[in-house]
Amino acid sequence: MRKRKDISRWIMILPATILIGFALFYPVISTVIISFQDRSLFMPTMATFVGFQNYRDILSSSEFWNAMKVTVYFTVVSVGAEFVIGLFSAILLNQDFAMKGFLRALVILPWAIPTVANGVLWQWIFDANYGALNGILSQFGMIEDYINWLGEPFRALNMVIIADVWKNCWFFTIVLLGALQTIPKSYFEAAEVDGAGFWNRLFRVTLPLLRPAIAVSLVLRTSEAFKVFDIIYIMTKGGPANGTQVLSYYVYHTSFEALSLGQGAAISTIIAVVILLAALFYTRLLMREEVEINA
């Protein structure tokens, strides 16, 4: 009786396993295989095994390291800002006040906008001649001349980050707000009775209890930010002077414009390894079994 149940269990999950296997593992494995080949889009049959040559070429190219720098900066700054804004807005929305329900619904809106639409929107806001940002700043007398927000490499990168933060910080809000609501109010009340101020409550009660939710959301957003492509493609196409060329855009260029699939696959594999390491780091740091409150 027991055994038959075992078999039927396996049969039940078999279709899903096969599907996921094809959709997930096949591309991953074939990318890794291609990364060891000298392979171009138009001669896929002439692929030759070149060992680590692609990796050597990439790791010695300055364009790769520039893209790496841009990507790390983008990831750290945007995820950092999104986390801080998300955390405080979640704490705010967890309070009792009149418009609570309405505001909670409102924060989902930017997050629900497609990235492409968001990119076009901000591209116009930042437009040097017709953009809203220049219009507002000059009307308030804060700038004399219109600023070309996307015209300088480092400034353009920061501007893209702003556009990304505006859209994605609400993801943290939603996840953390959900987690906050599972924390019994009595914990905060007890801390308050003990004389803990806002910051004490935040660091000693809220954050430790939010740890699992923070870990999950940070891992998700970090890996997403590290793979960022669409908003860059829409807003700057990697320019000016490669100042906003992130790794994924570099992969896109290498594989689909320069048509060298082997090198593109090698960069993709490097990205995957970096994200894996980051995820391990986060889970080690944040995902502990028990949660203790240091009161």
Binding site: D127, N148, G151, N242, F256, E257, A258
Partner: protein, 412 residues
């Protein structure tokens, strides 16, 4: 059973008679309005051929053609080929030679300078659709208001006139360009390179764009933004399509663009300057050089994987026909491919800017013809942008670009 067979066979025969062939055409959206109208005419003429037009922005075109055909070589029957892509597309095996389809008339009377863009290693791979270069558009109305009687003939005048226009408060910047990290940047640099007396490669095929004239051209671009302040800094992140808006709304007095821009400037829905924008020769940067611009003609070719090559050719030949070329010139401002149309009284009369545009065609420089053109172009785009954003001096940027181009082409 017999009855059944008869029914099936007759149905098949009916299908064969009335069966329509569908050809899929991918093309840049620059002349989309004209091509959509032409397709209607074509389908009237050939009721058994249905044309499906996929029009995409120029900057997505190369990638869309290449990646789609890599997966399915028969996905498109007709592709839009920019002059710089011909060698690469032929080497990739994307294009079908059409030499035995060309008529005597085509061989004799299509301008050889335009026909050349579709030729590689002695074979022809399609027909050009227009003779295009970057034209110098200026806003006559704004110049008049500033008391300037003629368009600038040299870059010094260009700067001086821009300053007058700016000082009088008529415009914020004299001109806007499309210097963003895209193919357009290479066209604009080619225009300036030639006008300062430079060239891309020397006789031995070594990079020559980093010599004195090339550096001067790039230095002028940098100075025009930061020193003379007559070029809108937004040029650094606008491509050759994005900059059209400012010209079409009189926000700048000068702009350089392809022939399709002429339709946009004169379309009341997209422009407030209808009838005010004229064409003049591109200014010169060196005594002895009258003018120079960059060529940018495009043509249509048949894909090697196409299953309807005859129908595809009929379509290409139709768009290239004198009748359609005439409509394209008169209504849409493009320069025709037929030599005789340049003397056609109707074209001369009805195309208001035909004469100045024709004059420009005598002063043209091509971008290099290389199998690795896309990679070459990207190297140049990045280094020119490094100079434009003042991360490198023009000399340093061009020297580094020349070094990488040498490596790309396998030269020591």
């Amino acid at each position: 059973m017999k009855k059944f067979l008869v029914v099936v066979l007759s149905v098949l025969m009916v299908l064969m008679v009335f069966g329509k062939v569908t050809i899929r055409v991918i093309s840049s959206d620059d002349f989309a309005t004209f091509r959509k109208e032409a397709i209607k005419e074509f389908e009237k003429l050939y009721p058994d051929i249905h044309v499906e037009l996929i029009s995409v922005g120029y900057n997505q075109l190369y990638q869309k053609i290449v990646t789609t055909l890599a997966v399915d070589p028969s996905a498109f029957d007709v592709i839009d080929v920019d002059c710089i892509w011909t060698p690469e597309f032929v080497e990739m095996g994307l294009l079908e030679p059409v030499d035995d389809r060309l008529t005597e008339d085509m061989k004799k009377n299509i301008l050889p300078s335009v026909m050349r863009i579709m030729q590689y290693k002695g074979k022809t791979y399609g027909l050009p659709m227009f003779d295009d270069v970057l034209f110098f558009y200026y806003n006559e109305d704004l110049l008049k208001k500033a008391g300037i009687l003629r368009p600038p003939a040299t870059w010094d005048e260009f700067v001086a006139f821009s300053k007058i226009l700016q000082e009088k408060g008529l415009v914020k910047y004299g001109s806007i360009w499309g210097w963003a990290q895209a193919e357009g940047l290479i066209c604009y640099y080619t225009l300036l390179l030639g006008s300062f007396g430079g060239r891309w490669f020397d006789e031995n095929g070594n990079p020559a764009f980093n010599d004195e004239a090339g550096v001067k051209a790039l230095q002028w671009m940098v100075d025009a933004i930061y020193k003379y302040k007559v070029v809108d800094p937004a040029s650094i992140n606008s491509d050759d399509r994005a900059m059209l808006h400012a010209v079409a709304h009189g926000d700048v007095a000068f702009g350089f663009n392809w022939s399709f821009a002429w339709t946009i400037f004169n379309d009341p829905e997209q422009s407030t300057q209808v009838g005010k924008i004229k064409v003049a020769l591109v200014p010169s940067g060196k005594p002895g050089i009258v003018s120079n611009t960059s060529s940018g003609s495009m043509g249509l070719g048949i894909t090697r994987g196409s299953k309807h090559k005859d129908a595809a050719w009929k379509f290409i030949a139709f768009l290239a026909s004198r009748k359609e070329q005439k409509i394209q010139a008169i209504k849409y401002g493009a320069m025709p491919i037929w030599e005789d149309l340049y003397h056609d009284p109707e074209v001369l009369q009805k195309h208001p800017e035909f004469e100045p545009m024709l004059n420009q065609l005598y002063y043209v420089m091509d971008r290099p013809s290389l199998v690795k053109y896309t990679q070459f172009s990207r190297i140049l785009q990045i280094y020119i942008q490094k100079a434009l954003t003042r991360q490198m001096s023009p000399k340093e940027a061009l020297d580094r670009a020349a070094k990488e181009v040498k490596k790309l082409l396998g030269r020591k």
